[in-house]
Amino acid sequence: MAVLTYRDALTQALREELQRDDRVFLMGEEVAQYNGAYKVSKGLLDEFGPMRIVDTPITELGFAGVGVGAAMVGLRPIVEFMTWNFALLAIDEVVNAAAKMLYMSGGQYKMPMVFRGPNGTALQLGAQHSQAWESWLAHIPGLKVCTPGTPADAKGLLKSAIRDDNPVVFLEGEMLYNTKGEVPDGEHIVPIGQAELKREGDHCSIITHGKMVLVAMKVADDLAKEGINIDVVDLRTVRPIDVEAISKSVQKTNRAVVLEEGWEICGMGSQVVDFIQRECFDDLDAPVLRVHQEDVPMPYAKNLERAAKPDAGKTIAAIKKVMYLD
């Protein structure tokens, strides 16, 4: 097993799947000649040529639709958005076309495609470039939504996504590309819809996904020093959600904090809390608390940005509250 960056793990998955199936192609802004804005597609143009690694104009709606059309007639497109913030321009193709084509055609047209790109907050990029979109996308029946937090999950989930016959939204953590971790070589598949218990503890559960997995792990480390043991449930996929994994953890710990990058109202956490109250009502010793971005657009100034984001400190405060330790 090699230690790879999240970026290289994604590149490895892309390369292996492009080699495996010649219906697979990658398109997006700057993916070919420039090797990708975040260098995820580095070296792929040389290996696979311009018909399979396709530079597009800056025209998200247009090339997202091209992906939909190609998928309808049997190709397996991977559409890269330079960031998911830009993908809002293409949302009609994702939500109204890709997600619904199988259903409104009565099962005649499958959509084997992936929409991928960086998601979530970064550093001082301001209001339009620092946003987490998973709750929007997870709302839509017909889509699957992956949010890997580690290099191994990034590789394993991307391979699953490319092989899936449904439109898969693949949200990469913009701040995760340089993070490192062990990644199994070759055929490493992480099934879509399966959470992973990243840390075991019996005092409180943190339910989280994506970049916030790292925050949760830090919180677990910090609290272990105080003798508080945390269960960290990494959802990995937010549609479908692994309700069983959530229930199992909360039934063990009796307390939960749901941690996410996005905003509060109708966030992923709202859904997770709903599952918890349904599945674990008689197991709860405290109301479930949520940690999320403050209910404001992302500010630019460093101090304001820090205050707006969910972090370890806020998470620890929430955990102590559900444990009646504050």
Binding site: L284, E294, A317, Y324, D326
Partner: protein, 474 residues
Amino acid sequence: MATKVTMEALSPTMEEGRLVKWNKNEGDQVAAGDVLAEVETDKAVMDLVARGDGVLRKRLANEGDSSPVGTLLAVIATPDENIEAIIGSAAGAAAAPAGQPAPAAQASQSAGSAPQTPAAKKESSGGSSIPQSAAESQGESSTPMQQRGGPQAGAPPSPPGRPAPPRPPSQPAAPRGNGAAHPGAPAAGGRQRTSPLARRLASEKGIQLGAIRGSGPGGRIVKRDIENAKATGGAGRSAAAERLAAEGDFKDIALTQIRKTIARRLSESNGPVPTFFLTAEFDATRAAEMRTQLAEMGDQYKASFNDIVIKAVALALAEHPEVNAHWLNDKIRQFNRIHVAMAVAIEDGLITPVLFDADRLTLWEISEKARDLAKRARERKLMPEEYTGATFTVSNLGMFGIDQFTAIINPPEVGIIAIGGVEERPVVIDGQLEVRQRMRVTMSCDHRAVDGATGAKFLQTVRRYIENPLSLVI
């Protein structure tokens, strides 16, 4: 700071209480835990204890007064503290409907349903460290985290639509959820708050929630409170509870169609509890002989007929779970544990203290507990958890010279046994007329749950035990 003394809900069903006697006078120094007064609930006379330290500055209720739960009865404060505002607020608070939460609580309950006020938004963001604003300007020094949740324990309930009275800036807010400051202060309106887990654990361990003081926010009973209750012996019956915890408390029996039809038709015909009666005459000669022999062995072995009947009924219930049950309208709940209540006449009514796990008590344990319960019942000193939670009831009027009567079922129980006096009567045995000690027993059965044959078989088992009394002591 001042502590309010309010009429507390001292029994599960209590809505108002009568102040029987003040134990402290105005000006007396009191400490948390001191008994301030005796209060008569709907069932018993209970102690009202101080929830804070200081001087009993003002008594607002007179002996003999009845007050709804939540009514301000007195104020404890430092000798020079101004308590006029608290006394003044009593009128307004009394006018507010019971259970009316303070505005802060309303805001937090609606958190999550947009649109919200800025304050509500802030309160609803768990773990938030957003810059402080509105609430702080009222003089609160708590953190935003602490502002979430229910009304602060001890804070005066405000009439709806009016902001909570400002706290003097010099006095920090009491930390919420601090069990030491306000142990077990019930939520506004007297409803005990319990976490779902704590409720389940208490049920599994057979712990009465009413006996526990919650350490969570607003007096919420949480997991650790149940664990502590267990560790300290809880309500005095945790040993049995622990012994049985693994077995589970009960089994719910879904209603079959025929059971539903029986229940519906018979209820139409005969009251909400369609009762029928089974009478049998037992031979108590051997039981009487045993009683005499036991008494000769020494006082500690004495047992009354009542004790013998309770023990026999408890053992019979173990063999007939269909009788050891509650009728819950949509199902029958059969209990795995046997808690036999005994009806005790008191001066102005009737109370039914419970012998928990009666089947597992020795005859002498039953005897001792029954005596103690009866005595304290007559003194009106029973705790609520001592007269609730029965699975079956025995009523005995033999001591009043009654030889046979019918008793009224105490729902949701499905049966009650009425015991008449033991008398010498002539009976024919093997063709010979003999004089024997006889006792008449009448069982009232809720026909929705118990059919005639079921009740009859149960009585047969009771007869077997009574007529072979050695089986009750070995």
